[in-house]
Amino acid sequence: MVAYLIRRILLMIPTIFAISLVAFLIIQLPPGDFLDGMVSAMEADGNPMRAEMIAALRERYGLDQPVFVQYWQWITGIVLRGDFGMSFEWRQPVQDLIWERTGLTFLLSLLTLVFVWIVSFPIGVYSAVRRYSVGDYVATFLGFIGLAIPNFLLALVLLFGAYKIFGVNLAGLFSREYENAPWSMGKVLDLMAHLWLPLIVLGSSGIASLFRIMRANLLDELYKPYVVTARAKGLPEWKLILKYPVRVALNPFVSTVGWVLPDLVSGAVITAVVLNLPLTGPMLLRALQSQDMYLAGSFILVLGVLTVIGTLISDILLAMLDPRIRYR
C-alpha cells in the first residue's frame, strides 16, 4: 500500500509538469498576444497607441521573449518563490486574484454538491424501488430535461422568466445595498435569497445524472439473491433496502467527491457568466479571451493540480476498498 502510494505521488510530478507546459503553450497558440488585443480595443475607443509604446510595453511585460523563456520565468517563479506572475489586465498578482474569488466559489460548489445529494438520493432510491411507476416516469422525464438543457440556457430562461413575471433581476449574489457592505446578518440573508437560483441551475444536470446512476446501480442490486434472502427472513422492506442494496449502490455519490475539487475553480464558467456571479470561472474565461497568459495559465495549472489530487484521492479510496488494484 505504501509503495503504491509513493509510486502514485511520484507519477504526479511529471503529470503536473506536462499540464503546466501544455496549458502555457495552448494559451499562446492563438495569433497575437495580450497587447495586440489591448491595442486594437484602445484604438477603437480613440486611444491609439504609438508604436514605440507598444514596443516598450512588450519588452516590459516580457512578451518579446521566446515562449519557452516566458514559460521558464513563470514556472521557476512558481516553484521557487510561489509567485504566479502578474495579470496584465487586472494589474495585480495572479495569486491574489485567484484567492479573492475562491471563497464564494468554494461555498457555492459545496452547497451545490449537498443540494445535488439531498435531492438525487431519495429520488434515485424511489424510482428504482418503484420502477415504471408514474413517479418514476415523472422523475425520469424531468431528469432527462435537466440533463439535456445546458445550464447557461436554463439560467437565461429563469432570469428572463423572473424579470417578465415578477419584475425582478435575480442575477448576481447580492442586492445593490449589500454589494460593498461588510458581512452582517442582513448580508447573509441577502446572499441566501440570491443563492437558490444558481443552486438550482448548477444542480440541475448533476441531480439528473446522479439519480439515474443511483437508479441503475440500485436496480442491479435489488434482484440479487441476498435481497431475496433478507426479505424471506422478514426484514421490513424499507430497512432492508436502505441497509443493504443502497449501501452498495452508494458508490457514485462517494466518487463525485473527487470531481468536486477541479469544479471549485472552473465550476460552470458560462453559467456563472450568465448569472453574473463573482466566481473564478468568468475570470478564467476572460483571461483566456484576452490572452492574459499568466492568469489563465495559473488557473489551468491550479485546475490541473486539483484534478490530479482528486484522482489520487479516489484512487486511494479505491485501493483501500479493492485489494486487486493495489497489487497490479
Binding site: V39, D45, E52, L156, E179
Partner: protein
C-alpha cells in the same frame, strides 16, 4: 456684490457660451453631503474650494437639485474606457456637446496666434485637485517634461504633439499660464487637446502625488520601489502612471479634476461587484445660480460579465444613462418594448461612423501582377459597381441605411455628394465591360485569368468585430464579384491576426469599420488620405512618408494628396480647416482609394425618464469621448 465674468480671449479663437451674471457675496452653494463635512470641519467652505472664476455651465434644461446615484454597467477592468467616457473628460479645452466648437474648460481662456504655432492656455486661479492641493502650471510642466518628453517613461511623441516632427517647447509664463510653441504650424493642436487621448493626459498628473514615485523629486524612490515590489523607480513610476494605457486616474488614490472621484480603484472589480465614485468637493464648475456641480452624489459602476445580463439590468431600470454595450441593433426591439416598465427612454447616438464596412484593396501588395491590377482605378470602380448594396442593406442591416462610399455623413460640413455616391449604383453589365478591358481572359470555370492563363484570385479578409457583421457582408460582396468573373474568397479570422497581416502588408483586401464620418474626418483621415498607419489600402505609403522601415514610395498623385493634408494642419481655424479638408476630399474622390457599402444608421442609448438635463442626441465617435462631452455633471434626479 461680486461679478463673475469670464475673460473672453481676444484672439481668432474666442471662447463662447460663458455668461456674465451677478452673485451675492460668498454665495456659492454646495451639496448637503459636503455641507455636513464643512460643518464638521473636515472640508473648507465652498467658496474657498472653488476657483476664483469657476466655469459656469448653462444647464440643458434647468437648474437641478442635489442627490442620488448614477448607475452604469461596466464589463470588468477591460471596460475601463467607460469611466473615461462618463466621468473622465476634463481636458484644458473641450468640444461643446454639439461637437462643432472647441470651448474653454479647465483653461478659462486660450489664445492661438495667426500661424498656429503658439498656443497659450490660461488656468483658473485657486483651482484645486480633489485632495485640495492647488492645480497650477507646474502640474502641466511636470506632465510635459517628466512624462511626455522622457523616453524612458513614455516612449515616442504622439503625432498630435508634433509639428515638423518635433514636439513643442512648453513655457510656464506664470503660475497660471502655459504656452506651447511649435516650430511649424500645428493647426490641429487644439483638436488634439480636445479629443480623447491628448487632452486628459495633460490634466491628469498631479505633480504633488506623482513626484513621490519619480527619482528626480524623491531621492528615495528606488527604495520605495523595492518596498512596493518593483525592481526600480522607473518600473514603479510606469506602473503608477498606468503603463501609458491603463487608467491611472482610476486607481482610487490619485487626485483628479473630475466631477466624481473613485473611492476604490477599478481593479477592485476583481473581488467586488461594483466600484463607486463620489462627488469631488473641489470640482470647478457651477450652474448659473452658483450651485457647485455635479448635482448627483455618486457614480456607481456595477460589474456585469455578460451583455445579456447588462440588457436585463437595463430592462429592469437598473441602468441610468448608457449606450456602451447596450445600444446594439439586436437589443433595440426588446428595449423599446420595455421602456415603460423600466422607466427609461431612448436617446439617439449620432455615430460619426459613415459606413457599415469599408473595403480596402491593398495597393501596395508585394505581388507585382496583382499590384498592377489593384492600383488600376477602373478595376476598383468595376468592383464597386458589381456590389448590390441595397441587397446587403436589406439582408445584413435590417434595411437601415443607403448605398454609401467612404465619405463624411450627409449632415456634416464635410459632406461631398460626389465622394459619397459615385460608383454606388448596382450595374454588373458596366462592371463586366470595365473588367473586360483589364482582365479579358477567362478560365474554364468562367473566372477571369491573367493573360498567361493563370487564375486571378484574391482574398477578402474579414473579422467579426464592432458588431457590424463584416463576415456576412463580405460573403455577399464576393458573391457579387464572382458573378462578374472575379474569383474572390472570404477569409474570416481573428481581429488580432487581421491586424498583424495588414501591418505586415500581406493582405489582398479587407473590410473594416468606417471611422471618421463627422468632424473627426479631419483627424481620422485613414479612408480619405494615407497619412496615418491605418490606411489599409497603402500602409507602406504612410511609412515612407514618416521615413519608417518598410516604406514604399507612393505615386506622385498620392504624394501631392498627402501634401494637401499638411496644408490643413497649417491652418489655424476650424473653419479654415474644414474648407481645406473639403478640397482634399475632392481629390479623395478622384483617387477612389477604397469603397464603402452603406451609410451606418444612428445608434441609441437609454436614459431614465426622470433624469434631468439628459440629452436627446449625443454626437459620438471613436475620437470624441461620448457621452462625457454632453456634460454628465449637470444630470440630476427630478424626484
Amino acid at each position: 456684490m461680486r461679478r463673475i465674468v469670464a475673460r473672453v480671449a481676444g484672439s481668432t479663437l474666442a471662447l463662447a457660451g460663458v455668461l456674465a451674471f451677478p452673485l451675492a457675496a460668498s454665495a456659492y452653494q454646495e451639496a448637503p453631503m459636503l455641507a455636513e463635512q464643512v460643518a464638521a470641519g473636515a472640508l473648507p467652505p465652498v467658496d474657498e474650494r472653488l476657483p476664483a472664476e469657476p466655469l459656469v455651465l448653462e444647464p440643458r434644461e434647468a437648474v437641478g437639485t442635489y442627490g442620488g446615484e448614477l448607475t452604469f454597467g461596466i464589463k470588468g477592468m477591460a471596460d475601463w474606457v467607460l469611466l473615461q467616457r462618463t466621468m473622465g473628460y476634463e481636458p484644458l479645452v473641450t468640444w461643446n456637446p454639439e461637437w462643432d466648437e472647441i470651448v474653454p474648460n479647465i483653461a478659462k481662456a486660450f489664445h492661438v496666434n495667426e500661424d498656429a504655432t503658439e498656443f497659450v492656455f490660461e488656468l483658473r486661479e485657486g483651482m484645486k485637485w480633489s485632495d485640495g492641493h492647488p492645480f497650477t502650471a507646474d502640474d502641466i510642466v511636470f506632465w510635459f517634461e517628466d512624462i511626455l518628453l522622457d523616453p524612458d517613461v513614455s516612449p515616442g511623441i504622439p503625432t498630435g504633439m508634433r509639428a515638423g516632427g518635433e514636439p513643442p517647447v512648453l513655457t510656464k509664463v506664470d503660475d497660471l499660464t502655459v504656452k506651447f510653441e511649435f516650430e511649424e504650424s500645428n493647426g490641429l493642436f487644439l483638436q488634439y487637446v480636445a479629443y480623447a487621448r491628448g487632452g486628459f493626459e495633460m490634466t491628469s498628473f498631479p505633480k504633488h502625488y506623482f513626484e513621490q514615485f519619480h527619482l528626480k523629486y524623491n531621492e528615495n524612490a528606488d527604495e520605495l520601489a523595492k518596498e512596493l515590489g518593483f525592481s526600480n523607480w522607473l518600473d514603479m513610476f510606469q506602473d503608477r502612471s498606468g503603463d501609458y494605457m491603463a487608467p491611472w486616474r482610476f486607481r482610487g488614490d490619485v487626485p483628479v479634476l473630475l466631477p466624481w472621484m473613485l473611492q476604490t480603484g477599478l481593479e477592485t472589480l476583481a473581488s467586488s461587484q461594483q466600484v463607486v465614485a463620489v462627488r469631488n468637493p473641489y470640482y470647478f464648475k457651477v450652474d448659473p445660480e452658483g450651485n457647485q456641480l455635479p448635482y448627483i452624489d455618486r457614480a456607481v459602476y456595477a460589474s456585469v460579465q455578460d451583455d445579456e445580463v447588462l440588457l436585463l439590468k437595463a430592462l429592469n431600470g437598473e441602468i441610468d444613462f448608457q449606450d456602451r454595450n447596450i445600444g446594439i441593433d439586436a437589443n433595440r426591439a426588446v428595449l423599446y418594448d420595455g421602456q415603460e416598465a423600466g422607466g427609461y427612454r431612448f436617446y439617439e447616438v449620432a455615430l460619426s461612423d459613415m459606413n457599415t464596412g469599408i473595403i480596402s484593396i491593398n495597393q501596395t501588395i508585394p505581388d507585382d501582377r496583382k499590384r498592377e491590377i489593384f492600383t488600376n482605378k477602373d478595376f476598383r470602380i468595376a468592383l464597386s459597381h458589381a456590389i448590390n448594396r441595397q441587397e446587403i442593406i436589406d439582408i445584413v442591416h435590417q434595411g437601415v441605411g443607403e448605398p454609401w462610399q467612404a465619405a463624411p455623413r450627409p449632415d456634416t460640413p464635410l459632406y461631398s455628394e460626389r465622394l459619397a455616391k459615385q460608383y454606388t449604383e448596382y450595374d454588373p453589365d458596366l462592371a463586366n465591360r470595365m473588367l473586360d478591358a483589364i482582365l479579358p481572359d477567362r478560365g474554364a470555370n468562367g473566372m477571369r485569368t491573367y493573360s498567361d492563363g493563370t487564375p486571378f484570385t484574391f482574398v477578402l479578409e474579414a473579422s467579426d468585430a464592432h458588431g457590424l457583421r463584416f463576415p456576412d457582408a463580405a460573403e455577399l460582396v464576393v458573391r457579387y464579384w464572382q458573378e462578374v468573373g472575379i474569383d474572390a474568397q472570404v477569409r474570416v479570422m481573428d481581429r488580432a491576426l487581421l491586424d498583424q497581416r495588414r501591418i505586415a502588408n500581406v493582405q489582398d483586401a479587407m473590410i473594416w469599420r468606417g471611422f471618421g464620418g463627422s468632424l473627426d474626418a479631419i483627424v481620422d483621415t485613414r479612408w480619405y488620405v494615407p497619412v496615418t498607419g491605418n490606411s489599409n489600402f497603402g500602409i507602406p505609403w504612410t511609412q515612407w512618408a514618416e521615413g519608417e522601415a518598410g516604406g514604399i514610395e507612393p505615386p506622385q498623385s498620392v504624394k501631392d494628396h498627402m501634401a494637401m493634408y499638411r496644408e490643413v494642419a497649417l491652418t489655424p481655424t476650424l473653419e479654415g480647416q474644414i474648407e481645406k479638408y473639403g478640397e482634399l476630399l475632392e481629390v479623395s474622390a478622384d483617387q477612389f482609394y477604397v469603397f464603402g457599402i452603406s451609410l451606418r444608421g444612428p445608434g441609441f442609448g437609454i436614459v431614465k425618464t426622470d433624469l434631468g438635463n439628459a440629452p436627446q442626441v449625443v454626437p459620438a465617435g471613436g475620437d470624441i469621448l461620448d457621452p462625457a462631452h454632453s456634460r454628465l455633471e449637470q444630470l440630476f434626479w427630478k424626484n
